[in-house]
């Protein structure tokens, strides 16, 4: 006691000198790290908007076929690629989201902590790390070589990318549904399938939909799985199930390495369109999360 009262001048509120300086430097470095992240992002968004906005018009988004590279951006449009992106992404969503949600239902409602469920969960995590180009090569090997290029093949490749992401995000959402809800339904005599479909899924639907929307937003921008599966033609192909198709990301990839100003301008316009689609999906995911989440994290 006596020792403490002998040192009344020590200021306990804030460390001084060298220790404080190091702390300040560390904080400044952290803020600097954020600035370093912001600068390229701002730079990319600014360039895409500045170069893309002047190209985009209603006819750019809807008319086709995509003109030859030498022609200026004022001629023709990216209509076929917009159509292709919408139909291929939509088909991939229809294929992957229900399967992903069902897979998550197995993991959370049936598999529990069993070895098979653990293996599937672990492998779903590993599958999210498989490069998108491998999905393209895979679908090329098992589908395109036998049935030819088509929007469907592209949708398979994108679906393979989305599947593990949807499984993981849906699993997280099902985990948040309280067990008392399940137990209450069982007590009323409901079967497990009925409990899952009518009680657990509706309780988690907000999070599941928003997770799926984010997966779709990522998939819509993927290029590598498409270049081996849809062939990137210039004419519109409304039939997603057969015949070569095209999509915005694949078209940007082709145009980016062209020396022609017109082709590059079309690439910027397509890039802005693609980013706009991704942002709209992302905002939709946020809105769904905000409005329909019953059990937040």
């Amino acid at each position: 006691m006596a020792v403490i009262t002998q040192e009344p001048k020590v200021d306990l509120r804030e460390p001084a000198g060298w220790r404080r300086t190091k702390d300040r430097v560390a904080t400044v470095l952290m803020v600097l790290a954020f600035v370093v992240v912001i600068v390229p992002l701002g730079f990319v968004l600014y360039t895409v908007i500045a170069k893309g906005a002047s190209v985009i018009s209603w006819s750019f988004l809807t008319s086709g076929p995509i003109p030859p590279n030498v022609l200026p951006a004022s001629v023709g449009g990216m209509g076929p690629a917009v159509l292709g992106t919408i139909e291929i992404t939509a088909l991939a969503t229809v294929l992957a989201v229900p399967l992903g949600v069902l897979g998550a239902i197995y993991l959370r409602e049936y598999g529990g902590k069993g070895p098979l469920a653990r293996l599937i969960g672990f492998m779903a995590d590993v599958m999210t790390g498989v490069p998108s180009i491998i999905m393209g090569l895979f679908i090329f090997s098992i589908w395109v070589l036998h049935f030819g290029y088509s929007g469907l093949a592209g949708a398979f490749a994108l679906g393979c990318l989305m599947l593990p992401v949807v499984i993981r995000s849906s699993d997280e959402m099902l985990k948040l549904v309280p067990d008392s809800l399940r137990e209450g339904s069982y007590a009323l005599g409901a079967t497990k399938a009925r409990v899952t479909v009518t009680v657990v899924l509706p309780a988690a639907i907000g999070g599941i939909v928003s997770g799926a929307l984010l997966a779709v937003a990522r998939a819509a921008g993927e290029t590598a799985p498409l270049i081996f599966t849809i062939l990137t033609v210039t004419a519109a192909n409304p039939n997603v199930f057969s015949g070569a198709n095209t999509a915005l990301p694949a078209q940007i990839f082709v145009n980016a390495s062209q020396p022609y100003v017109g082709a590059q301008a079309r690439a910027w316009g397509a890039a802005l369109t693609l980013i706009a689609i991704a942002f709209i999906l992302m905002i939709a995911a946020r809105v769904v999360t905000a409005r329909f989440t019953r059990y937040p994290r």
Binding site: L12, R19, K22, D23, A26, T27, M30, V31, A33, F34, V36, V37, L41, V44, L45, V48, L102, G103, Y106, Y110, G111, A117, F122, M123, D125, V126, M127, G129, V130, P131, S132, I134, L137, F138, S141, L145, C160, L163, I167, T191, K192, A193, V197, R218, G221, E222, T223, A224, I227, F228, P249, I252, F253, A256, Q264, A271, L274, A278, F279, M282
Partner: protein, 327 residues
Amino acid sequence: VSSATQAGPAAAAGPASTLSQRRPLGDRTFQAVALGSGLLVLVILVLIAVSTSQQASSWFATEGVKGIFSTTWNPAANQFGALAFIFGTGVTAVIAVVIAVPISVGVALLLTEVVPYRLARPIVYVIDLLAVVPSVVWGLWGILVFAPWVQGVYNGIASAVKGVPVLGPLFGPPASGASFFTAGLILAFMITPIVTSLSREVIATVPTIEREGAYALGATRLEMIRGAVWPHSQGGIVGAVLLGLGRAMGETIAAALVIGASPTITSHLFAPGYNMPAVIANEFGEASGLYRSALMGLGVLLFVFTIIVNLIARAIVERSARRMRGA
């Protein structure tokens, strides 16, 4: 009566199994469908390995293990050595990780330890925006805007370190803006969001009581991070870094546009190079026969490498998460 006194698993399984036999068909069908969807993950992973290896078999048969370690890539002469691409993949991925990890961990610490929650949310939104920008848009920006600009920076660095040992041979004068280093930089931008969000999740699991304990001992924020946050989150962050490495290895389109498309092995980071995903994306369209098989083979190698990196990363993350729960 016996089940009441004996609480063994065998006794419990008896009545439960008679119950499950009475489960209606619809219920059992639903379970089977759910199981099937879950198994699809395993089926796809096996099919990927089998089908791509099959397509690559003629390359493996012609070149064998020697092909993997050969540096000559000359499609016109039917020579398909993979080493230059493996080298390029390693170099670009390491550059990306070296740049992205300090930045990501810094931002993760900023979000969890420094800024208040109401400010952290918009910052997370901005980082998420970075993740939504498609690979091909990074590539388009990289080749048309960033590469021409960064070439000037490279020139400045090259003349500054000229003649300096170690740095001189690494950062020589650039041929153009497209190079290993440009690809590494673009990949760094692309993996920053994932490494940030994973690190943030790991750091968020550090018990508040340990933070408060460190502060109560009079630690500054930096000392608290080093003493309380770091020991707890070390393993998880290593896992996050490896996941970022796996991403960087497999990112295709951005690298394909900015790497310079030249299969060379050099210490010179500002020189144009090539990596596995980029060469597959750029040359697959015009390839057939053995050429296509060789590109498939590169795909198989890439698949194996990324799977290994991911398995190690996930194992580390799982282990550190388990230790955290135990603590």
